[in-house]
């Protein structure tokens, strides 16, 4: 009895110890210099990045004998992806060698020391001259160095369902001149077509950055105000434009012109929107990004061949139609090399392979991106790939960019909190704006805030 119990205990102990050590040795970003780890997002209908990374992995491993590419697709909604990536970056043993970065996080991550400057490698890369000057600035740090190679950019506008508009007796093509015209079209839909969600404006914490950018900033940058004043180097709070934008959100959700609040707050709402609501003609107007058709083309997660016939696009008007009449926001994603990467040249080689002409072309078409390589932008395959390309590319003339400062992500979070408080009715727009002001002061320091 006694001997058996001790023997059993000892046996179990060795078993677990060996299991844990085997387990810990198996993975971990940089434990093996011959391995490249690549972290990127894969969520809902967004599968294009996964496709690209799998393709590049094959190409890279074939070209570099003895190297292994370890893909780490992070299955998380947008905000959770950023959190996860940040947590991974903080520890050398989990930091990826190559990472898929939203441009708005680049400066935050540079400041945190997560990213490696690429200037030395870019100088030796012939293709770099193919990138537009604007795109080269997309991942430029405040120190002037370049920290990422752009994959494509985007613009945002109103998508609308022509069939539903015709049924409701609204004009097609539609070109609203002011916010009020947008809202009045939505009200008409609500009245004439019960069961149809008149309009989607992303809002709240669940939608994450989509709420800040596709939702709030598309409104705010159509008013006289912005988030940040470049000349005084201060964040602007308590502005009339901010309040008007929150009031727009309040109208959309308060008058039930938008999706039900409980649905809109779900992080999976974007997935439902792309895979169900829009293809099934259940949403009339959608304030969203240029990439959206990537969901419905043949290679997308929800092929829907009729999309280009059913859906129209209209620029988002400025608040009262003031010059230049319409507005847009642009962002985009880059591939960066992690500062903990042991072999940065190898990591950069992967990035340059992933974004050579062929792969950029394929990705920009599949993911509905606006090309940032001149040779891709001129390629007939790209130009003929998507009937909305001209429309969204032209919006570049009126577009805006998010303030590219390390504090932006925290400001963006405060925007989402304010939106959610307003759409749920937990705070009035005035109260939510006051809270936003306090949050921004706490996040960036009171001396960097005006208003």
């Amino acid at each position: 009895m006694q001997r058996r119990s001790t023997a059993l205990l000892a046996g179990l102990l060795t078993l677990t110890l060996s299991a844990t050590t085997a387990c810990s040795g198996g993975s971990g970003g940089d434990s093996d210099a011959k391995t490249l780890t690549v972290a990127y997002q894969k969520f809902g209908t967004f599968i294009q990045m996964d496709d690209l990374m799998n393709k590049v992995k094959g190409e890279y491993e074939a070209a570099h004998q003895g190297w292994t590419v370890k893909l780490v697709p992070i299955e998380a909604s947008e905000n959770d992806y950023y959190t996860k990536l940040t947590l991974m970056n903080r520890s050398p043993n989990t930091a990826p060698d190559i990472l898929y970065e939203d441009t708005f996080l680049v400066n935050t991550d540079i400041q945190a020391g997560f990213l490696a400057p690429l200037d030395d490698y870019l100088g030796k890369w012939a293709d770099w001259s193919q990138f537009t000057d604007a795109s080269k600035a997309a991942a430029k740090g405040l120190d002037g160095k370049i920290y990422g190679v752009p994959m494509g950019t985007d613009t945002r506008a109103l998508w609308y369902n022509k069939d539903l508009f015709a049924k409701a007796g609204l004009p097609v093509p539609w070109q609203p001149k002011t916010w009020d015209e947008v809202l009045s079209a939505a009200r008409t839909i609500k009245q004439k077509l019960p069961g149809v969600i008149p309009m989607n404006v992303f809002s709240g914490k669940g939608a994450g950055e989509a709420a800040s950018m596709q939702g709030f900033e598309m409104l705010l940058y159509g008013t006289a105000d912005t988030l940040y004043d470049e000349s005084s180097k201060k964040w602007l709070v308590n502005t009339p434009g901010f309040l008007d934008s929150l009031n727009f959100i309040k109208t959309v959700y308060g008058e039930k012109l938008g999706p039900e609040v409980q649905d809109a707050l779900d992080p999976n709402f974007g997935t439902r929107l792309n895979s169900e609501l829009i293809p099934e003609n259940k949403i009339a107007i959608d304030l969203n990004g240029s990439w959206q058709s990537g969901n419905w083309i043949e290679t997308g997660a929800k092929p829907w061949p009729e999309w280009s016939k059913v859906l129209g696009q209209a620029p988002m008007p400025t608040q009262n139609g003031q010059a230049p009449g319409s507005t847009s926001m642009s962002g985009g994603w880059v591939l960066s090399v992690g500062s903990h990467a042991e072999d940065k040249q190898a990591a950069f080689d992967y990035v340059s392979l992933a974004l050579n002409k062929e792969n950029s072309l394929a990705y920009d078409i599949a993911a509905g991106q606006i090309a940032e390589r001149k040779d891709v932008a001129e390629d007939p395959k790209y130009l003929n790939s998507n009937p909305t390309l001209r429309f969204f590319t032209d919006l570049v003339q009126v577009t805006h960019f998010r303030p590219a400062y390390p504090e932006y992500p925290r400001v963006s979070n405060a925007i989402q909190v304010a939106m959610e408080a307003v759409m749920t009715g937990q705070a009035t727009p005035e109260q939510a704006m006051a809270t936003y002001g306090d949050e921004v002061k706490a996040a960036v320091g009171p001396d960097k805030v005006s208003g």
Partner: protein, 270 residues
Amino acid sequence: MARRLAIYSALLLIAVCFLLPFTWLLISSVQPGSGLSAKVTWEFSLVNFQDVLNAETVFRPMLNSVIISGSTAIFTAVVATFAAYPLSRYRTRFGRGFLYIILFATGLPITAVMVPVYAMYSRFNLIDSVPATIAFMTASALPFAVWMMKNFMDSVPLNLEEAAWTDGAGWFQSLHRIVLPLMVPGLTVVFIFTFVLQWGNFFVPFILLLSPEKQPASVTIYTFFSQYGQVAYGQLAAFSILYTVPVILLYSAVSKVLGGAFSLTGAVKG
């Protein structure tokens, strides 16, 4: 008689209330293509189980769970046994103080420290390390395990060891040769109790383990829920059942062997 009827109706009502939240989990797991909506189709199918029974979704996370909870339970049982011996056998002021600290620690809200644990672990580069996660889990399970172990050991009569002591046996020999063989039930309880608690532990691995291939089922099942909870609830239900079954089996096995004692002692850290 009316009184008895009232009591039985009350018990029935309570039982139904406790059963109801389970129903949809049980039903949707065996319905093909079931979503969140509680429409019963009266179709029986194991397709949901088939869909999740693969390395990626179920096997690897469950194996991770076994490794993490198993190691934690073993380390906890061993360390707690050692610690319980002097606490049970000798009276010292130090031992008494230690017992007070142990009892005090059993009450502290462990989930509250996860943020500082993260801060500390990331400072010392211990994030995403399975052994480091096990070390934290063991430490957090120890106070209660030591307490249980000491109480079990107290019920082992001392006179058996006295002979050994006079023969000059040290603590390890007495513990190993005399006390331990009599403590198999107690050891089993501590082991299984720790195992079950850590099997269900969500917050600790959620914060400390980042790589999907190291995460236990408690974390990956949440990832599955947030990604597919609305569309593939049937699969989530199947996964949940597979993940819960070992716990239920262990509970019932042990409570059969030890009567009510296990559930009673186990209760305190629910």
